[in-house]
Symmetry: C2
Subunit: 303 residues, 2 copies
């Protein structure tokens, strides 16, 4: 018996001001719901610009509590439309303690749960370790009216551990709000490799775990406020894939779009029966996954 779910992935460009950006987001959610979406995934830090290009202590002013203004507004919209919304926010936890947090508003408007980004990047243009206290809630999926969601955020997408832990805890869909793009100075080959790597590793999570993956990425160029770099060309390419990694929908890098996709959640179980990877995990031999690095150890020569 199939169990389908209509989902929407909203890919946006930064509008230049917070009010028009949030209005556009809400309008896109309404439009998606009108087309039948029951789950809506928003991109990373959708309320504003990707502000992490520079390190500026004043930017903690952008953070807000959760629950707070965004979850109140989005919760009301979720209840009105009867949709589940995955919203990525800059969470104010305390003085100098902010987090990159995804809030899930259930279809009745309540805050179903939050996920605080566990893996925090830090590289030129993505100065996230400066802003974001690492997540402290672990890899815990969130139950909603449309199913159990494994919400992860951006840099998490490179970590098979994160996907696996969500799947082991019963996640049926992985949802990745994302903000990733090119350094405009990189050559075309490097850009192509980076984009393809990003798509591939996430499709790989779908395959390894027998579940669907939804990814919402920002699109469009955002300037470096310090003008010391060419900024970031967010590469869009939001996509959805099924439990064999098969594409269900994919955006391009050209502009804003809402991807509408129908997931067949009953496929998860079908695929896991023909490829029962969970059955055969060697949990007796995975202990070293909890180690940082062992590359320098002396290897035994066997036999």
């Amino acid at each position: 018996m199939s169990r389908t779910l209509s989902a929407a992935i909203i890919q946006q460009a930064w509008s230049g001001d917070a009010a028009s950006m949030f209005a556009a987001t809400q309008a896109a959610i309404r439009a998606a719901a009108a087309q039948g979406a029951r789950l809506v995934l928003l991109q990373e830090l959708h309320r504003g610009p990707y502000f992490c290009q520079v390190q500026d202590p004043q930017l903690h002013d952008l953070a807000e509590p959760i629950p707070g203004p965004s979850t109140t507004a989005l919760g009301a919209l979720a209840a009105e439309l009867g949709v589940v919304i995955v919203a990525s926010l800059f969470e104010a936890r305390g003085p100098g303690i902010s987090a990159n947090t995804a809030a899930v508003l259930d279809a009745d408007g309540r805050l179903a749960g939050i996920y605080r980004k566990m893996h925090i990047p830090q590289d030129p243009g993505f100065e996230e370790k400066f802003y974001f206290t690492p997540g402290d809630l672990g890899f815990q999926p969130i139950d909603t009216a449309v199913g159990r969601l494994g919400v992860l955020v951006c840099w998490d997408q490179w970590y098979p551990e994160a996907a696996r832990l969500m799947a082991l805890a019963g996640a049926e869909i992985l949802c990745y709000p994302t903000a990733i793009g090119w350094n405009p100075d990189d050559d075309a080959d490097e850009k192509a490799r980076q984009l393809e790597a990003w798509v591939t590793v996430q499709r790989g999570h779908a395959v390894a775990n027998g579940l669907s993956v939804l990814v919402a990425n920002r699109v469009g160029h955002e300037a470096d406020p310090s003008a010391r770099s060419p900024g970031i060309a967010f590469w869009g390419n939001s996509f959805a894939c099924g439990p064999q990694g098969e594409f269900l929908a994919r955006a391009d890098q050209q502009g804003e779009t809402t991807l509408m996709v129908t997931l067949d959640l009953s496929r998860n179980a079908e695929v896991r029966r023909i490829w029962p990877f969970f059955r055969d995990r060697r949990i007796d031999a995975y202990g070293d996954l909890l180690q940082r690095w062992q590359g320098g150890r002396l290897l035994k020569r066997t036999p």
Copy 2:
């Protein structure tokens, strides 16, 4: 400073008898070495047919000790040609205790090490749990004249844990001898999804771990000895990819071939510097990876 390595991936069809098969394998190794290969990867259980389509206790007669006849012959060839050979063998360990084992012959002919397949499949046509005692050596790479090899076998390829553990232990290249194919009765769409899933998940390991991946698969149809199924159409498609998952070479499903590929091992470090995933692993929060399944647990609702 780049550090390149010429590698060969040998994709073969079962010849119908062990003597001609091994002769063809040795000829292919010689030809690859003549073209400059210093590392040669052979497909899973290359000495014979893929015998696991049926469960027959007598087939343990096919197993041989390691060291044994195959490692002696291949070791001599490795030394003569100055190549490292990764050979997948059916290992006789004791009465009723056999293993699916990859032996690595170093460029001086010595047995550099072995890996015993850790994840053992069992499904119609792939009756491996009947034959193969699960590996007991863990995920330990093998040092050779051409670098530290993370040798894994077939079903292991679906497990991000296996790839990660090899990478954490310093593997520079993942090598997968493989025997995977289609059920000829499946429809074209399902076949396409399976092949693409298999390629994708392994490219994903390359991306997640910043290393090259080499895969040697069987090709061609092998009949079911019991005639109760249409047999297996091994899908070939052996391939090599670099540390961003980029294809370096790829075979088709049409027939036997030797893929020659030049790996730039210095790319591993370059890629890991721009995408330092190992730096940010949340080893404090990965403990549940050692659990079998938690899908039924009661979730806390946060906050």
